[in-house]
């Protein structure tokens, strides 16, 4: 009895540490400026503490069956990343980011051996809900921080605690199928209502963020949970939720009907006044970050390009450019962790320092070898729970993994250890295989 109590206590500690790590990682790149610096330090402390707890928790479950294949493939990914230090232009950066990813994967692999995968998934969900509730509080007390201002091409977008509208929405998308799972698995009506409110909050936050990648990922996760679960009521609920979320996300926004006008003033005025006959090309010429895709020099842009539900926000141009870079070093890439150094935003409709696609991102960093290992890891994690008779918790974790893999088409994050969505994704992914192994 005492042993059981100890195990429960450790399990709860892991759960809380997991939720706290997700929140801290989000705050480290979040919208509360005063919180960024302390959170940047705290997130690594939180991750180390979580790793220690997860390993201790796994050590208590030594007799539990688990699948070695995903751990080996994850080890291969880390090994390739570490070896890429030898051809990276930034070896220290590569080594540091490899170590951070290894730590995340150790946490995920250790938690795959947890006695209660439900407890682990609940930890991820609690972290996401804490972020969502924090976002709502910020909206009430500091509206300007919680909402990204509208521009001439984009409406105002809800970002909550995230440092941009996509950041928190990524975590919500991965957690959405987990919330649906807990609604159907809760034994009391109160808990069902609580998880229902949590799911509404997550999906509502995604809808008002206008994050299309998160929207697609959440739908994919809900669909996978419904289809693998094989229960009509779950399928119907998932479809209803997807429809409602989509309807909210395409509501007319103020910027569409009343767009703000450009002021014509540069927010960062020139520090250099060029001598007569010369110009500062950053102010008078094509900016290097807009060099590709703008109309010819001296030609006016006559079409207004508003952000739409089906638009790519310049991603297709950025992906094309990134794949051009991949073609220069196709087999093993530029070195792990160098994505934001290698990729240069030169695209007029794109605005990010990474290509915003994890598959393109891993190609850039580790080439075809890295992509093959990453895909092998995804397959190794998904396959066990596709077997007939998989437990519902395995199905829920697989649905979260499906959301994470869809999200990876729109965001560069699967290998970024400091991103809150990354740890959520890998913990759910390994929980899927852990739950499936325990069942069989």
């Amino acid at each position: 009895m005492l042993e059981l109590l100890k195990r429960m206590t450790l399990g709860r500690a892991v759960q809380l540490a997991l939720a706290a790590t997700i929140v801290t990682m989000l705050l480290a790149g979040g919208s509360i400026l005063q919180g960024i610096e302390p959170a940047r330090t705290l997130r690594w402390a939180a991750l180390l503490a979580l790793a220690a707890l997860a390993v201790a928790y796994a050590a208590r479950s030594r007799e539990r069956a688990w699948s070695l294949t995903p751990a080996l493939v994850a080890g291969a990914l880390v090994a390739v990343a570490a070896v890429s230090t030898l051809w990276s232009a930034n070896p220290r950066l590569t080594l540091g980011r490899t170590a951070a990813l290894a730590l995340v994967l150790v946490v995920a692999a250790a938690l795959a051996r947890a006695e209660s995968p439900e407890l682990v998934l609940e930890g991820v969900l609690l972290g996401a809900v804490a972020v969502a509730v924090g976002g709502l509080l910020l909206l009430v007390f500091d509206h300007d921080r919680a909402v990204q201002t509208a521009t001439t091409v984009s409406p105002a977008r809800y970002q909550g605690l995230g440092g941009g509208p996509n950041m928190a929405a990524m975590v919500f998308a991965i957690a959405a199928p987990l919330a649906l799972h807990f609604i159907f698995e809760s034994r009391t009506r109160t808990m069902r209502l609580a998880w229902g409110a949590a799911l509404a909050l997550l999906l509502g936050s995604i809808a008002f963020s206008g994050s299309r990648g998160a929207l697609a990922a959440a739908f994919a996760g809900l669909a996978v949970y419904a289809l693998l679960g094989g229960r009509p009521v779950v399928l119907g609920t998932a479809a209803l939720l997807a429809g409602a979320t989509l309807a909210v996300s395409v509501l007319p926004s103020p910027a569409s009907s009343n767009p703000p006008q450009p002021t014509g003033q540069d927010p960062a005025p020139a520090q250099v006044t060029p001598a007569p006959g010369y110009f500062d090309a950053n102010l008078q010429g094509p900016r290097l970050q807009d060099d590709i895709g703008h109309p010819g020099i001296g030609v006016a842009e006559t079409t207004r390009r508003e952000r739409t539900l089906s638009g790519s926000s310049g991603r297709t141009e950025a992906w094309r450019g990134a794949l051009g870079l991949v073609a220069d070093r196709p087999v093993v890439g530029y070195g792990f962790g160098t994505e934001d150094r290698t990729f240069v935003d030169r695209y007029v409709f794109f605005n990010s320092n990474v290509p915003e696609n994890s598959y393109v991102g891993i190609l850039l960093q580790l080439g075809i070898v890295g992509l093959v290992v990453l895909l092998a890891l995804a397959v190794a994690l998904v396959l066990p729970s596709l077997r007939r008779g998989s437990s519902r918790v395995a199905v829920a974790a697989t649905a979260a993994l499906a959301a994470a893999l869809v999200l990876a088409f729109f965001q560069s994050y699967l290998y970024a250890a400091g991103n809150a969505a990354t740890i959520a994704a890998w913990v759910c992914a390994f929980a899927a295989t852990g739950a499936a192994a325990a069942r069989s």
């Binding site: 070695l68 500062d280 220069d328 093993v332």
Partner: protein, 146 residues
């Protein structure tokens, strides 16, 4: 699917050892491939940057029209005909050309080793670049020591 373990009793230790051995061999094989790809790309980008430099001619050309100032490098912009931004050369603190852009046909053709400047094989006189930037009114505080 794959290897399954229950506690420490069943491990398939030999199989794991073989897998690890194969993985180590593969990893070692990747190192020369990575180094070769890095060098090949550097050669290709350097060749492109060199061709732009040759097209520019002397840095102190009468077609020098502008500049850009960044944290890690500075650029010189040259005109061709009515195109004021036709050719651009970006140089880091050590005089290595890290980026060159040819916009003569209206679109930007870029050669760059911004991410890997130590591999650049094209070097110009950094003192000359500083002198030109000063002539265009760029204060010394923005310029590295030549």
């Amino acid at each position: 699917m794959g290897l399954r373990v229950r506690g420490h009793r069943r491990g398939g230790g030999t199989l794991v050892r073989r897998i690890v051995l194969v993985a180590v061999v593969v990893l070692v094989a990747l190192v020369p491939i990575g180094a070769w790809e890095r060098g090949r790309r550097a050669d290709h980008e350097s060749a492109g940057m060199r061709s732009v430099l040759e097209e520019v001619g002397p840095l102190d050309s009468s077609e020098l029209r502008g500049f850009r100032i960044f944290a890690n490098f500075e650029c010189l912009v040259y005109e061709r005909g009515r195109n004021h931004f036709a050719l651009e050369l970006c140089v880091d603190d050590r005089g290595r050309v890290v980026e060159a852009i040819d916009r003569r046909d209206g679109t930007a053709e870029v050669w760059s080793l911004r991410d890997d400047p130590s591999e650049s094989e094209v070097v110009v006189d950094r003192g000359e670049v500083n002198r030109l930037l000063r002539r265009m009114n760029v204060p010394d505080e923005y310029l590295p020591d030549a």
